[in-house]
Symmetry: C2
Subunit: 197 residues, 2 copies
Amino acid sequence: MRQFVVVAHDAPLDPDFSLSDLAGSGRLDLLCRCLNAALLTSHGVREDVRAFLVVRDEATIRFSGREIRHLHPDERSTAALIREALSAREDAVGHREVESTPGVYVSKRGLDDVLAAVEADGPVIQLHEDGSPVSELAPPASPTFVLSDHRDFTEAEAVVVSEHADERISLGPERIHADHAIAVAHNYLDTAGYSRY
Amino acid sequence: MRQFVVVAHDAPLDPDFSLSDLAGSGRLDLLCRCLNAALLTSHGVREDVRAFLVVRDEATIRFSGREIRHLHPDERSTAALIREALSAREDAVGHREVESTPGVYVSKRGLDDVLAAVEADGPVIQLHEDGSPVSELAPPASPTFVLSDHRDFTEAEAVVVSEHADERISLGPERIHADHAIAVAHNYLDTAGYSRY
C-alpha cells in the first residue's frame, strides 16, 4: 500500500465554497490535483492507495482507492467530494471517521493524529526540497509520504512531522508542485527495480 | 532546452468556450495542467522550456518559458491564454506565428509541421506506454517529448510521429495522465547523473 498525507493550510473547513473558484478557495484546485495524482491512473484507480487531506489541522479527509466512487480527473467533481466530506464533519465525534461518500471518510483528526495512525503501516517519508536525494532511498513496500500544499510546513508542523518521519527525502533539485511530487513518487515506486541509465 | 508537444484531439478551435467548464470543453483542463507541468515549478517558470499544443491538427499554440507572462498554476488563467491564442489564429498566415500574449504564439501548423520544425533542436522522443523503458535512454541534452492528451494517437498521427521520432519511450509500467508524464519526464532530466538505489 502507498499512502499520501497532504497538509492543507488555506483550504476551507466550511463546505460553503464555490466550485467555480477552487483556486480562490484556499487552493482547493491544487489539492484536487493532488488527489488525482495520488489515486488515478490514465483510465483507472490506484486501488492500493490511501490519500489524506489534513485541513488546517482540524479535519482530515481520507480517500480510499479500493472503495472510492465518483472520483474523476476534473477538479470540480473532486472538490464536490471534499464539500460532501466537510458537510459531514460535524457528525464525526473525536477521532472516529464518518463516511461522507463511498470511500471518502472525514474525522476531526489533525496532523499528529494521522501520522500516529499511519506509522504502523510502514515508513513515514517526508517529501521536502531540503531532504536527502531519493536515490539514497530503497523503494519501500508500504510507505506513507507526507508533503505540504503550496505553502511550506509551519514550524509546529515541521516538529510534528520530524517526530513521526523515518526519512526526509528530496525528489530532485527543482522545487515542484505537490501534485507533481506525488506523480514522481508514484513513478519512483512503479519503476522500483529498474536500472537507471 | 526541453520541448513538449502535446496533441489535443478534442480541444476547441473556436475561442468561444466557457472558462467555467474546461473539462467539458475538450478536456482543456488536462491541457492546462500539461502546460503547468511543462512550464512551472513551485514558485517559478522553467525558462528553458517550450510547450506546443497541437489542436485538432489545425492550430498550434507555442508557449515560451523564457518570454511568457500571465501564466499561473490555476487552470482558468491558463485557459484564458489559450482563448487569446485561438482568437488570434485568423491573423496567422500559413506557418507564420502570431504572438497573442507575451510568450504565446499561434500558427496554423499541424503535427507534421511542428515535428519537422523541432527535430533540428535535438532528439524527438515519443512518450507511449508501449515504448522502451526510460532506463534505456541516456538523458538527452535538448529533447522534444511528444505525447497525446486523454486519447491515444490516431493511426495517422502515429505514422507522422514515427517518421520524426528518434525514440519511443515508456516512463513506467502504469498508464498515467499526460500532465503527470510531463512531470516525471522533467524529473528524469532534472536528476540526470543521479544514481538509482
